[in-house]
Each structure stands twice: as C-alpha cells, then as structure tokens.
Symmetry: C2
Subunit: 195 residues, 2 copies
C-alpha cells in the first residue's frame, strides 16, 4: 500500500519529514504520494488564529529545541525563520501543481530549506520563482497557473479532503484508512504500509 505524505509549508516538523520521506519510503519499498494542504483553515476552525507554538509559549520553546536536536541528528541546518509561522499559501499552490510531477518533491524540499534553513520569505513570489528556475522550470508559467482560480479551488478541495481523512496537524501520513501524525510516526506508517 502507498503512503500519502500530507504537509504544510509553515509546519516545522514537516521540514525534517519532507527531507527524509522519499529516502525512507524507497528503503522500505513503499510507494509515496505527496499531498500539500493548508493548516490555516483547520486551526481556524479550532479557534486558533496563530500557530499553537506561538499561542502556547512553553510548547513553542520546547518545539524549537526538539527541532534543533532532530535536525542535528538528521544533518539538517536549522535557522528559525525571521517570522513564524510563514505564509505557505502560494508555495502550496505551486506544490499542488507539482504533486504528481517529477519536480514536485524537489520543489517541496527547496521551499522547506528556504523557510527553515535559509531564512527566506516563502510568501514572496520571487523567492518561489527562483526555486522553480533553479529546477529548470518555467517559473512565470507555473506561477500564473498556480494563481488561476481552478488551482486555488483545487487546494481548498485538497484541504477539505485532509479534514475528511481526520487530519488535524502536519506532517501526517495516510496508509489506507490509517492516520499517522508527526515526523516521528513516519517509520510506523511505512511499517503499516508494508504489512
């Protein structure tokens, strides 16, 4: 069975997950599907208009320390974004265009690196265009397509699909009807897929 990787660009723990999910799935012999979605509407429905890591400072302080340990163990550079959380809407619209294309995973990883390793503003269309260009893609055409009404609607529908699957945070992994939440559940999700 395939593993679906559901991610949001503002999500901290989605960063190490995005960087290792492809290699881990390959090593486990499990097919992988990338699914960007938006946490904003989900958090908003719970009454949160900010990241829970900002709303609950003790949890936020812990998260950054935990992320530092995880990134060190995974060999990833971690630099706290100048503003957290960043707005990942435009990046998600682009990732949606690429989710079943060969360039999708590479684009996703570069956006996470821009956000959490390079202190770039991922809500800035020129930052995203530079990433697309670095992958030898037609940045202007993709940005235009990403902002078309049908693609905006498609991202809303994908977020609704996430909610329907019981997703409430990121990263999440779906295997059949089973939901696994968190970077630390990747191994359990892959094991489930291999049962």
């Amino acid at each position: 069975m395939a593993v679906e990787f559901w991610y949001e660009f503002a999500s901290t723990y989605s960063f190490p997950a995005a960087m290792r999910v492809e290699g881990a799935a390959k090593a486990a012999g499990v097919a992988l599907v990338w699914r960007p979605f938006l946490l904003g509407p989900i958090f908003g429905a719970q009454g949160w208009n900010d990241s829970p890591f900002n709303i609950y400072p003790a949890k936020g302080k812990y998260m950054w320390r935990d992320m530092a340990r995880i990134c060190e163990a995974d060999g990833l550079t971690l630099k706290e974004p100048l503003h957290f959380p960043q707005n990942g809407l435009k990046a998600a619209r682009l990732a949606l265009l690429g989710q079943d294309e060969p360039w999708g995973p590479a684009f996703t990883r570069r956006v996470y690196l821009a956000n959490f390793a390079e202190q770039k503003d991922i809500s800035d269309e020129s930052v995203l265009a530079d990433i697309l260009s670095s992958l030898s893609l037609d940045a202007a055409a993709l940005v235009a397509r990403s902002n078309a009404p049908e693609n905006k609607e498609r991202l809303k529908a994908q977020t609704d699909a996430a909610i329907a699957k019981g997703i409430f945070g990121a990263p999440s992994f779906i295997v059949g009807d089973e939901l696994f939440w968190g970077n630390d559940r990747l191994e359990a999700a892959l094991a489930w897929a291999g049962r």
Copy 2:
C-alpha cells in the same frame, strides 16, 4: 546522567511510557527517577478545563487509534476508561510518597493498568487502597499520609517544579537541562543521558 520520568495518571501516553520506562532505562544503563505531577493546573493556566483530546475531537479520535496501535505493539491491553480523563489527584499523592521507595514504580504501573486496561475509577480511594494492599503495603496508613496537608503541598510544589523545568504535557523526560516530551521521545532521552 539520570533520566527523570514525569507523569500524570490521567495522561494516556504516560501509560505505555510507565510500563516500559524501567526496562528501557535498565537496558540503556541509565538511572531512572519517577516524578508524578499534575497536568490540571498547567492546562488550566492555558485556558483548558478539559483534556485537549476532548476539546479537539479530531485529535482525540486520532489519539485513541494511535494508542491502540502502540499498546498492541507493546503487548498491552487498552480499554478506554468509562470516563476520560480520570481524576488522578489521589493516585498522584500516593505515588509521590512512593516516588523514591521500592514500591513506587509497581504502584504507578498498577494505577495505569487500573485506568487504561481495567476500566477502574482511579479517583476512588478504595481502588487505590486495593492496589497498595496487593503490594503488601499498609494501605490505610499510606492513604492517611497521602492526604496530610504537607503531602498535598509537596505535590503542588512538585507540579510547580515541573512548570519551572518547562514541562507542559505528559509524559515528559528530563535529562539535565534537556526536556523530551512524549512516550515516543523515551529513546531520545535515554540516548541523551548516555552521551
């Protein structure tokens, strides 16, 4: 360095953690300290007057499924309590008396089994007394000592100490100045202690 295991009897993920922490610490050659505390005051200060798993239903639904998978993998029986969360105050006062005594870990494990495997009411003093008696302890004397004003104050002080260490949930593991949150961080905490 020793690992401190901070737990709350109402906490679901503290159940599998409590059942495996002693064996895991022994296997890692790491000294273990048991520290019961109360989540109620910590959640209350965040504006929660119930478990976040009740306040956020999608998260709660996921938690019970995740717990079922974890308990199955660990060989533990899991039966959802008839009422969740249970009030662990009296159990915590007793566990505090035993935290540095030989009977403390066994008492703690039996309370978790009563709560999450046996659908017993752990706020009921007779349930707790039965557990103490089954461990060949003087239940009446311990219950009386647990309810003495100085022991009540000591549990409040221990909860304040948890907050001062940055603890915001359970189970938590402390190694020196490092905080690890969640049953799934036990291995990381033990590895840190062995550095």
